[in-house]
Amino acid sequence: MLPLSRLVFRLTMWLPNLAARALRAEVGRPTAWFLPQGWV
């Protein structure tokens, strides 16, 4: 599942929100935010 906070931050990519990628704790993982993440 894409946990709620990650889903919301991914959706905020539409807006001028500069912390979105960092707040999902996936700094520099270019492929990470497109897909659902792990189960832990």
């Binding site: 599942m1 709620l4 001028p16 929100n17 707040l23 704790a25 897909l35 659902p36 792990g38 832990v40």
Partner: protein, 384 residues
């Protein structure tokens, strides 16, 4: 350990999972990367505003960039600067640091290509959303907030509906699950008879995680599962994650998530407008509004992070309970969580709520504790 801390700790001998030393070293660095990245962005943004680069009279700016038809260029350049400023941190934490833990198998060039694809898609969304806001401010100055909220709701629902189709080409290899695999997975979730959604396996050179989940809404909903999960995970783990995902599907968590996200973002827009119309009223209906809104929305997303994480945790617990009601047991769940944590380098030693609140997922120890409590209280004991 003080008295309060020990009172809030749910640790019992049955739900303790052995800590993984590698995860203890890896996870704090990821958290540090996230904090540093947010601070880095806010510092640069403050400098940008202080230097007058969001001021139409600034000598640094060409007059054409602040007016129609040139103003979208301002937003594009602003995003470009953001991407460049973030590159060193992305490289350090996303490539060099991950390589240290053996999580990156590809070379720097391949990582750079993926980085460019990710940054370009983010940039496209950023520019479309920002231009939409400015256009609404120009054409409906009195009701733009209302129309912006409606447009963002439509954007969020559409992009959640088509989430699987919106994954950029060239990053992953996708393969639909074949019939024998679907039949095997469907047998694993017995006695639940609900058919599984469309299943797609994804792979990538650096992918070793057991990861996956639902993407898309309604008829477009797809269950994505990483290739390593299908090839290497035990039946207990697969059963746990499949029934957990079926729980999210049953309770429409993706739709709920996008509606909640919209509520948070709309609140951020309203708060942003209150601030900006008070401190920089002249920037309304101009691209100079965007850096200021970026500052306010970023701060409001940071402030709302604990609440979002809390609500997200409720959804995860609900999905875990769905698993327990459909044949799962805390013992099997413990095996699955141990296997998942070992593979994904997740920390298993965080047991208190305040440690859990920065995590997107509730920690394994807390989930196991909640599962044991639920199972003894409400579920029938196994064998009945």
């Amino acid at each position: 350990m003080n008295q309060h801390a020990s009172a809030s700790s749910p640790i019992t001998p049955t739900n303790t999972i052995e800590p993984n030393p590698l995860a203890l070293s890896y996870q704090p660095r990821r958290l540090r990367g996230a904090v540093l990245s947010v601070a880095w962005n806010l510092a640069w943004l403050a400098l940008f505003l202080r230097a007058g680069l969001a001021d139409p009279q600034s000598p640094w700016l060409h007059p054409a960039i602040a007016q129609p038809p040139g103003w979208p260029l301002y937003i594009i350049v602003f995003y470009f600067l953001y991407a460049i400023i973030n590159f060193p941190i992305d490289l350090w934490y996303g490539y060099l640091h991950e390589r240290q833990f053996g999580l990156v198998k590809q070379g720097l060039r391949a990582w750079g290509r993926d980085w460019a694809i990710g940054a370009a898609q983010h940039g496209l969304m950023f520019v479309i959303g920002s231009c939409l806001i400015i256009l609404l401010q120009i054409h409906t100055p009195h009701a733009w907030l209302f129309y912006a909220a409606a447009a963002i709701l439509a954007l969020f629902l559409t992009s959640t509906f088509f989430a699987f189709d919106l994954i950029p080409a060239g990053l992953f290899q996708f393969e639909p699950a074949d019939q024998p695999l679907v039949a095997r997975l469907q047998r694993l979730i017995h006695p639940l008879a609900t058919p599984l959604p469309r299943i797609v396996i994804f792979s990538h050179a650096e992918l070793r995680d057991f990861s996956g989940g639902l993407a898309g809404l309604g008829p477009r909903q797809t269950l994505l599962i990483s290739r390593p999960t299908i090839e290497l995970a035990s039946n207990a783990l697969l059963r746990f994650v499949l029934l957990h995902e079926m729980g999210h599907r049953r309770f429409h968590h993706l739709l709920l998530g996008s509606l909640l996200g919209w509520a948070f973002v709309t609140t951020g827009l309203i708060v942003g407008d209150l601030f900006i119309s008070r401190f920089a009223p002249g920037s309304l209906a101009s691209p100079m509004y965007i850096p200021r809104l970026a500052m306010v929305i970023t701060c409001s997303m940071i402030a709302s992070h604990p609440l979002l994480a809390y609500l997200g945790h409720r959804l995860e617990y609900q999905a875990d309970r769905f698993y327990l009601r459909h044949g799962g047991t805390p013992e099997e769940m413990k095996l699955a969580l141990e296997e998942l944590s070992r593979r994904n380098l997740a920390r298993t030693d965080l047991t208190r709520r305040r440690q859990s609140i920065v995590q997107a997922m509730p920690t394994p120890a807390r989930r196991l504790h909640a599962a044991e409590k639920y199972f003894t209280q409400f579920a029938e004991p196994p064998g009945h």
